[in-house]
């Protein structure tokens, strides 16, 4: 145990005393301290705080990620290149433990670094949100919309597949369409169904179903939506039509109540957020029905499938949600430290850093390309198709590091739930981390450390 602690301690000291780490730490502290102070306007007060959180956390986490990669690569590569490793491997400690302790050292120091920076950010935000110049209403608004951990529930699209298959079969029956034409037809059918599902005709109503779970904070929940009047493609910001409507809330089988005392006038293409009280939720799963009654006599109201109404229930306080975000970032640091240490065993320091930069770049670009998959798939450009296929292949072995950066959740007050954490661990961490660690240890174990020619 003494040996392990000694190597971990050595790694931490060597990282702390390196100029690159000192520079990055100073830079991060400056960002953490000054970014919240330098953002003055961003729409409303809530938006302002969202921007402050997003910018500070994102920039600082990127710096910590870079530092962990840099330290991992430099510690292992320099140990081997400058023969310092000779002094370690001739001591009674196995190469496996040397590698693991080196990795742990890099990970622990960056974890402490993350704690320090996130504490500074937290402190700055806390001070700014409790400033005397803010009214108590503003403070409550920030607390409810930003400093919270709300779980979002989206409406269920039940029976979508059955409806899709039925309609598609009816359309292609007795036709001689090619395979690609059938795919195109399928896309059109899906688009029509979704548009139809989101339409509320004049005088009619539409019910959205939500399966929600009771929490300690269910009393203060809210409901978000956006609607389009006249057409689902209405994107104009000026001359936006208005329509009267009313929302009704029904919890389980209780009697429905209207949200608001009288019908309201909604403006097309506008975001709405309404408070709802879910006092009577029972333990376990509950069914909430939110019904929109279109009181306009002439025009339909549309809800786009990607912007279907959402019920948001506070499930955790800000600190808990913040810690969840830090947990995911810590996983990112662990992964990057392991990659850094593994690359440092194989390559010289500059080459290891270059390979690491390529890894991060491919991960980010691949993720970006895949996130716009519809554009790439619809386009006939062969280069785009190659790019899409390459990205897909890359992402089978490369982890896009932005998956470990969830500052957007924190800034928008969205809960980082257990499902998100588990999915990140399963899809982007566990296999990649284990595989990279095993490769790093294997290469280090097999490598003849006496062969390096000193520069």
């Amino acid at each position: 145990m003494n040996r392990d602690i000694a190597i971990i301690k050595l790694t931490i000291i060597s990282t702390i005393r390196s100029y690159s780490f000192i520079s990055i730490t100073l830079l991060s502290c400056i960002f953490a301290f000054f970014i919240p102070l330098t953002v003055f306007s961003g729409g409303g007060l809530v938006d302002l705080f969202q921007i402050r959180i997003d910018y500070s956390l994102e920039i600082c986490s990127i710096l910590i990620f870079i530092s962990s990669v840099w330290s991992g690569c430099s510690i292992m590569a320099e140990d081997i290149e400058l023969y310092k490793i000779h002094m370690l491997v001739v001591k009674p400690i196995s190469k496996l433990r040397i590698w693991l302790n080196r990795f742990l050292g890099v990970f622990i120091i960056h974890l402490l670094f993350l704690m320090l920076i996130s504490f500074i950010i937290f402190l700055m935000l806390h001070i700014m949100s409790n400033k005397g110049s803010l009214s108590s209403r503003e403070k409550i608004e920030i607390k409810e919309k930003v400093f919270t951990g709300r779980k979002s529930y989206t409406s269920q699209l039940s029976g979508l597949n059955e409806e899709y298959s039925g309609e598609l079969n009816a359309r292609i029956k007795n036709t001689t369409l090619s395979e690609s034409e059938k795919i195109e037809m399928g896309k059109k059918v899906m688009y029509t169904i979704i548009s139809r599902r989101g339409e509320v005709k004049p005088g009619e109503s539409k019910t959205f179903l939500f399966n929600v779970v009771k929490t300690n904070y269910s009393n203060n929940s809210n409901f978000k939506f956006m609607l389009y009047i006249g057409s689902p493609d209405m994107l104009e910001r000026q001359n936006r039509p208005k329509a009267e409507g009313i929302w009704l809330l029904q919890v389980n089988n209780e009697r429905g109540v209207s949200l608001g005392e009288k019908p309201e006038t909604f403006i097309s293409n506008n975001k709405y957020e309404m408070s709802i009280s879910l006092k009577n939720l029972s333990e376990g799963e509950n069914v909430i029905k939110l019904t929109y009654q279109n009181l306009d006599k002439d025009r339909s109201v549309f809800f786009r499938v990607t912007e279907f109404p959402q019920v948001q229930i506070k499930s955790a306080n800000f600190i808990e949600n913040y810690l969840r975000c830090l947990l995911i970032m810590a996983l990112g640091i662990a992964l990057l430290s392991a990659i850094g240490c593994a690359l440092g065993c194989v390559f010289s320091f500059p080459v290891a850093v270059f390979v690491m930069a390529a890894y991060l770049l491919f991960g980010s670009l691949g993720n970006f390309i895949l996130s716009g998959n519809e554009i790439f798939l619809k386009n006939d450009d062969i280069q785009l198709k190659i790019g899409y296929s390459l990205s897909k292949s890359f992402l089978k072995v490369i982890t896009p590091i932005q998956k470990f950066q969830l500052s957007e959740y924190i800034s928008t007050g969205m809960l980082i739930d257990n499902g998100t954490i588990m999915e990140t661990i399963r899809k982007y961490f566990l296999i990649q981390f284990l595989a990279i660690s095993v490769i790093g240890i294997y290469v280090f174990y097999r490598r003849e450390l006496g062969m390096v020619a000193k520069r």
Partner: protein
Amino acid sequence: MSQESNIIISAKNITKIFKDFWNRPKAKAVNGVSFEVKRGEVVGLLGPNGSGKSTTIKMILNLLYPTAGELKIFGKGTKDVNTKSKIGYLPEETYLYKFLSAEEILNFFGSLFNLPAKEVKKRTDELLEMIGMSHVRRRLVGEFSKGMARRIGMAQALINNPELLILDEPTSGLDPIACNEMKNLISFLKNKGKTILVSSHLLSDIEEVCDRIIILYGGRIAAEGSLENLLKIYDKNIITIPKQEDVQTEKLRRYLKEELCIEDFSIGNPSMSLEKYFVKTMEKARNDKSETAGAKQGSVIAEYLNE
């Protein structure tokens, strides 16, 4: 003690072939070398550059893997981790962590042997005193001269009180005083029953401290044996007597020539080596109390090494 346990290093036909990226043989650094080092021996490994000395040492320390042959240390394979707790190693160049101080370095290496913190501290203090560097214990190793770093390197090799000490060019970078101290230290350790393998270019170093030498050339053993057997000139004698008057010297010369019929002889004054002269001068300067920021003369041998 059995014959088996008396053998500390056993190399049988070890060969090391360096290969290129495509696994094609590039150079045969060590070619079928076999030797043994017994407990308590001080063995010198000699040879010109590229003769395979360092490669052999690196194979003993498992820094390189033999291509063929069998290499055993304390009766076990070189990959055995526990065996390494009995080994102390001073590499050719001292590869230390320059951001650590002299004291931190020794504490760190002491911890690698799972020694209790108290014991590590005691040994560190004694070793720093022994190598004459206790006054710079908190200075970073990166600021040290080569010789000072070398002394720290020697101290770290001794922190575990090893049974086998492997010294690669131990006097490289050391001033003559430190060289002398190093040789004295090796002799002391030899008397304490330690087994020492020394590799050096400086033949005088080897000559003064080693019992036995192995001379390598082109990766093969060119000569092996005890210094006495290899160096003694059996067909000549040497007589050392106190300084005589010229008349007496002339008498002696005549006696050797006329009475003993010896033609091939010489009579003169023996001279001390430059190293001895330098050590003597430094001792005089020290007695005159001149100050220095560098390493001081080492003092008493660390107490735990006496145990």
